[in-house]
């Protein structure tokens, strides 16, 4: 057939018209739109039966009740548990993000041993039996050499059965070196001992107070039990009571307060004592519960005359008198302390001074007041029968010096750990076990901490996550995360009640992880002898059930156990600790003309877990932008340094230097810089690593001479254009 131009054109045109009129193009168009609505790479979450499981959140000390929504065996959402005595249905940003931790890619998915250089990140998966065998062998070796005391353990907390098992293991093994991550709890316990004469902690009946004087406590920035404090702050608004926030920076708590009183950083104790002096001077006090006041009154008045205090603190004399009158004039005034979330041990002088204000207002162990709460005592295990090796180890001094000499009153001085390992201690550390803590990121002067870790020959991390400390370890024995395990959660965190929450496995373990309690029991069994005898339980669950005894059933049913009546430690307040010298910021004024102070934000975690992607997403772009971290600078200070909003600058302190971005903020005193605590991770994945600066790289511990605790509230600094 001869195809001429004409028939060819007819064919093409006719063909095109025919195709267009056929259903084919329409069908293809429709199909493509349907395909675009369910692209195979967009996940489709499977449906299933919905159930809610109750448990307790242990991501921070708050102890909130949670209700986890599950679809079949997937946990899909964490919500606050309605009716729970701590949080009654509400929940915080961290608690909400828990599932990103449970299912996150930064979990340690199996026990592993290091095969590359330390910190290089080369690991080999091993079985649990092998992991326990390695640990047992190492520990037995050290112990057999009579050096059991050279093994140390750091835990996130020392309350509850799991920390108690660690401590028991250390005791049976023969080491006095059990340590806890530092927090305001350190100074609080010490203050209760000094002021009330017994072991315990303070509790604050914030719901019933009618005047709040907070010395930098971030009551809506994560202080205490965060959700409970948020609720209290709203209650204060509803009841229209006066809330005064004393701190150098306009924090969210300051913004929520009725009145923000900025003061020179680090002078909170002076202001508290100045207010106490006004109370004494004007005789606006209730001395029933205070002993030893008589002779001390004159010293107080002499040392803390209003004008003098005004000079020290930068708070006008009239304001000091105002605060004193307001405080004294209220029916149930309450003073709080512990900066921000209370992540630093803190100064005894400051703590005692604030507690004194409570005592002077007559609110000790009263409704709306401050309570001296005894320690929870439900863990009643028989004493460990130690063998000779253990007994010899236990009489050795602690590596951090706590409990002896000038540190006689301190239980743990984890802040002194780095110096001790770096050569200042009585003996070298040979092995370290870390559980529920991330000292390589969270302890001040991180460089020195990392240097110390580099010297420790054997480090075991029980972390569930690939954190900075796990990166330095030799053996990883990952614990379940809280949603996969049973655990008792004794709730302290400033509650004026004794409470225990119960964490229950909401989902089965996602990876080849093992409960820390189980690992300890198994290791003790493997080590045998007196150590094995100290652990008479088949498994952790039995241990927990036996320990909780009559509380077990109600905990299983309701998830929380509340002690009906608590006998306070004591009703009398003895004056102590207030004559200690003030804690100064490290650094020389001439080389470092500015002051850098850390601040806490609720969007960042307060404990050892790294921030989940959701939390980082909620962080403002004036805190992190890309990987840049910001410091807050008063515009006046910035102008003097020739810096504009968003500009990069070099921040130098006696401990280190970092590149930061400048955020101009009128809520901070000229000459003071503020940086958020918690960022600058080097571990975890790209959702967290490398974002911002870890302030612990810039700040070092400053020892409170009266206790040995780290009481650093800031450090001198200088700022220059990058």
């Amino acid at each position: 057939m001869k195809v001429d131009r004409r028939s060819f054109l007819s064919f093409v045109i006719g063909g095109a018209a025919g195709t267009a009129l056929s259903p084919l193009p329409w069908k293809l168009m429709d199909d493509s739109s349907i395909w675009s609505q369910m692209w195979p790479w967009t996940p489709v979450p499977p449906d299933g039966e919905v159930v809610y499981e109750n448990s307790t959140c242990s991501l921070c000390p708050g102890g909130c009740g949670i209700s986890v929504r599950k679809v079949d065996n997937r946990a899909v959402k964490i919500e606050g548990r309605p009716g729970h005595p701590v949080n009654d249905g509400s929940i915080c940003i961290l608690g909400l993000s828990g599932l990103q931790m449970l299912y996150g890619p930064t979990r340690i998915k199996s026990p592993m041993k290091r095969i590359g250089e330390r910190g290089e990140g080369k690991w080999q998966k091993i079985s649990w039996d092998e992991a326990i065998a390695i640990l047992t062998e190492k520990l037995t070796d050290i112990r057999d050499k009579g050096e059991a005391h050279t093994v140390a353990a750091i835990a996130g907390s020392d309350s509850g059965t799991v920390p108690a098992l660690i401590r028991r293991f250390m005791t049976a093994y023969g080491s006095p070196n059990f340590m806890r991550s530092p927090s305001q709890r350190d100074v609080d316990e010490l203050a209760v001992k000094a002021l009330f004469g017994g072991d315990g902690r303070t509790g604050f009946d914030v719901e019933n107070a009618d005047y709040i004087l907070s010395f930098g406590s971030g009551f809506v920035d994560g202080w205490g039990s965060p959700v409970r404090m948020f609720k209290a702050a709203s209650l204060w608004k509803e009841k229209n009571i006066t809330v005064v926030q004393v701190e150098p920076r306009l924090s969210n708590s300051a913004a929520k307060a009725t009145r923000w009183v900025p003061l020179n950083p680090g002078t909170e104790a002076d202001l508290a004592l100045g207010i106490a002096a006004v109370l004494v001077d004007e005789n606006m006090l209730d001395t029933r519960a205070v002993s030893g006041l008589g002779s001390w009154k004159n010293d107080l008045l002499a040392a803390y005359a209003t004008e003098k205090v005004s000079q020290t603190t930068g708070v006008a004399a009239g304001v000091i008198v105002d605060l004193a009158k307001g405080f004294a004039g209220a029916n149930r005034p309450l003073a709080l302390c512990g900066r921000g979330k209370g992540l630093v041990s803190g100064s005894l002088r400051e703590t005692a001074a604030v507690y004194l204000l409570n005592a002077l207002s007559g609110n000790i162990n009263r409704e709306g007041g401050m309570w001296a709460m005894p320690e929870a005592d439900y863990i009643q295990w028989p004493d460990v029968a130690t063998d000779n090796l253990a007994s010899a180890g236990l009489v050795q001094p602690r590596l951090d010096g706590a409990g002896t000499g000038k540190y006689a009153d301190a239980r743990y001085l984890t802040n002194r750990l780095a110096d001790s390992v770096n050569g200042g201690g009585p003996y070298p550390m040979q092995a370290l076990l870390v559980a529920g803590a991330n000292p390589c990121h969270d302890l001040p002067d991180t460089q020195r901490v990392r240097a110390a870790f580099a010297r420790i020959p054997f480090i075991v991390s029980f972390s569930s996550f690939q954190d900075e400390t796990a990166a330095m370890a030799d053996l990883l024995m990952p614990d379940h995360v809280y949603l996969e395990r049973y655990e008792d959660v004794p709730i302290g965190a400033g509650l004026a009640q004794q409470m225990i929450g119960l964490s229950k496995p909401v989902v089965s373990p996602q990876f080849n992880t093992r409960h820390l309690g189980e690992v300890l029991i198994a290791t003790a069994m493997a080590m045998g002898g007196s150590i094995a005898n100290a652990f008479p339980w088949d498994d952790y669950e039995t241990c927990l059930e036996e320990t909780l005894a009559e509380k077990w059933d109600s905990l299983m049913e309701t998830g929380v156990w509340v002690q009906a009546d608590t006998e306070p430690v004591a009703d009398t307040f003895q004056l102590a600790g207030m004559d200690a010298p003030a804690v100064q910021a490290e650094g020389d004024v001439n080389s470092f003309p500015l002051l850098l102070v850390p601040y806490d934000a609720i969007q960042l975690t307060s404990g050892y877990v790294g921030e989940a992607p959701f939390m980082i997403k909620a962080v403002a772009d004036t805190v992190i932008k890309g990987t840049d971290g910001f410091i807050e600078v008063n515009p006046q200070t910035a102008r003097a340094a020739g810096l504009a909003e968003g500009e990069r600058a070099r921040l130098t302190t006696p401990r280190g230097e970092a590149q930061v971005c400048v955020h101009l903020f009128e809520g901070i005193q000229p000459g003071v810089l503020a940086m958020v605590r918690g960022l600058g991770h080097t571990a975890y994945d790209g959702h967290l690593a490398g974002k911002g600066v870890n302030i612990n790289e810039l700040i070092g511990p400053v020892e409170d001479p009266s206790t040995g605790f780290d009481a650093a509230w800031g450090i001198r600094a200088k700022l220059a254009k990058a």
């Binding site: 168009m29 739109s33 675009s36 609505q37």
Partner: protein
């Protein structure tokens, strides 16, 4: 080589020159196509748009080319409805430019939407309250009209015209063109207006919002008017550029001046209306919503009062005066300056009505959001320009676009015959002229 396709009585550059030009512009086109494919396959993250700039460079380009392409409908209206018969000498080119502008606009829209495969939902699930629906329908329909107007021109190609069916079709389409032109004008009125309405109906944005008539905000009418006013300016500007490139006169001055004069009066009246609108908006509309001019033109690094001046005075009053005034209009330099200012003015107006609308903070605690396009956005915006040049090159070479060309540039038959084979072997040192 392709002499059989070239219209009778006109001279075209040698094939190699033509191909060289095509190659250069084609390279730019390929760059644009590459960017377009990136956007289609990787998504709109290839752009610098964000949640504050949902509309940006592309929408501006769309609005601008549609305004500039308005020359087609308006000259069509003048020729077929009003009866300005001289315009037949430029209408072909106006149609071609319109066709390029509108096809470009549709292409850019297809790149701009997040789900191009579902783009047809705008027709299928049409929301009649949306200005964009109106735009989409009228735009597509009018594009069909432009295609209908362009087809006879294609069919007039020397070879195609030999086919009796094509010849008759072309002839019949010419005969009925007035109907299509009228429909085109009707459709243009609405889609040009609706494009104005796109910004004007945004009652949540005091910078853009305008009161109006019935459901149409004033910007609706201003956009139609400005497209009619400035569209011919663009047609004339492109004609001037084509003449410069081709190095010959293609349209007689009386035709140019007629269209320029009409355009001048349209710009003049439009500018008065625009000034009235701006005055009312600045003094009544915006203050009624708690905002004043300072909120819109200060406090940021780019948008200042200069933009109002540049748009209304430089792009409105000045070209209007030049084109209205006979002595200035007859002076080619002044005339072209006016075309250029006019094109700038209307483009700037579209910029303001898209980009500045997005930039101005509305909530008092919000901040200015400035934006610069990514290279992919720039490339895909230049893509239609390259495509337009190519289409013009091909159309000019093979179709009788300019009816007066042969008359204005007579050639001796023998010389042409002698030159043609010659040019194939001897390199022509003259620059490309098509």
């Amino acid at each position: 080589m392709d002499s059989a396709l070239i219209p009778k009585g006109v001279k075209r550059c040698p094939m190699w020159q033509f191909l060289l030009g095509l190659g250069i512009v084609g390279a730019v086109l390929a760059w644009g196509v590459y960017a377009m494919l990136l956007v289609w396959f990787k998504g709109l993250n290839q752009t610098n748009m964000n949640d504050y700039y949902g509309f940006a460079l592309w929408i501006w380009a769309d609005l601008a080319v549609i305004a500039l392409g308005g020359g087609a409908f308006f000259s069509g209206l003048l020729k077929y409805i009003v009866g300005k018969d001289e315009l037949k000498n430029i209408i072909n080119y106006a149609v071609l430019i319109g066709f390029i502008c509108y096809s470009s606009a549709l292409l850019i829209l297809a790149i701009d939407i997040g789900q191009p495969l579902r783009g047809w939902f705008i027709f299928w699930h049409a929301n009649v309250h949306s200005m964009l629906t109106e735009v989409a329908f009228c735009l597509s329909c009018y594009f069909a009209v432009l295609t209908i107007e362009y087809i006879p021109l294609i069919l007039e190609n020397r070879q195609l015209d030999k086919v009796p069916f094509f010849h008759n079709l072309s002839h019949n389409m010419h005969e009925t063109m007035a109907v299509f032109a009228a429909t085109g004008a009707f459709l243009s009125f609405f889609h040009q207006g609706s494009l104005g309405g796109v910004a004007g109906v945004l009652f949540g944005r005091p910078f853009a919002f305008r009161e109006g008539l019935l459901i149409w905000p004033w910007t609706f009418f201003l956009f139609t008017w400005s497209a009619a006013a400035y569209g011919p300016c663009f047609t004339l500007l492109i004609t001037w550029i084509t003449e410069k490139v081709a190095r010959k006169k293609l349209v007689k001055d009386n035709v140019i001046e007629l269209l320029a004069k009409i355009s001048g009066w349209m710009i003049f009246t439009y500018t008065i209306a625009k000034i009235c609108d701006t005055t009312r908006w600045a003094n009544i509309t915006a203050p009624g919503l708690g905002q004043n001019l300072a909120d819109f033109y200060t406090g940021n690094a780019f948008y200042g009062y200069w933009i109002l001046f540049a748009e209304i005075i430089l792009g409105g009053v000045v070209p209007a005066i030049i084109l209205i005034s006979a002595p200035l209009r007859k002076n080619p330099t002044w005339r072209v300056t006016a075309f250029f200012l006019g094109v700038m003015g209307v483009s700037l107006n579209r910029w303001v009505m898209v980009l500045q609308v997005m930039a101005v903070p509305i909530m008092p605690f919000d901040t200015w959001a400035l934006y610069y396009p990514s290279w992919q956005e720039v490339a895909t915006t230049i893509l239609p320009v390259a495509y337009g040049i190519i289409l013009i090159m091909i159309s000019y070479r093979y179709l009788p676009i300019f009816p007066q060309e042969a008359e204005l540039n007579p050639i001796q038959e023998e010389a042409a015959m002698a030159v043609e084979p010659h040019t194939e072997s001897v390199p022509d040192l003259k620059p490309a002229n098509a």
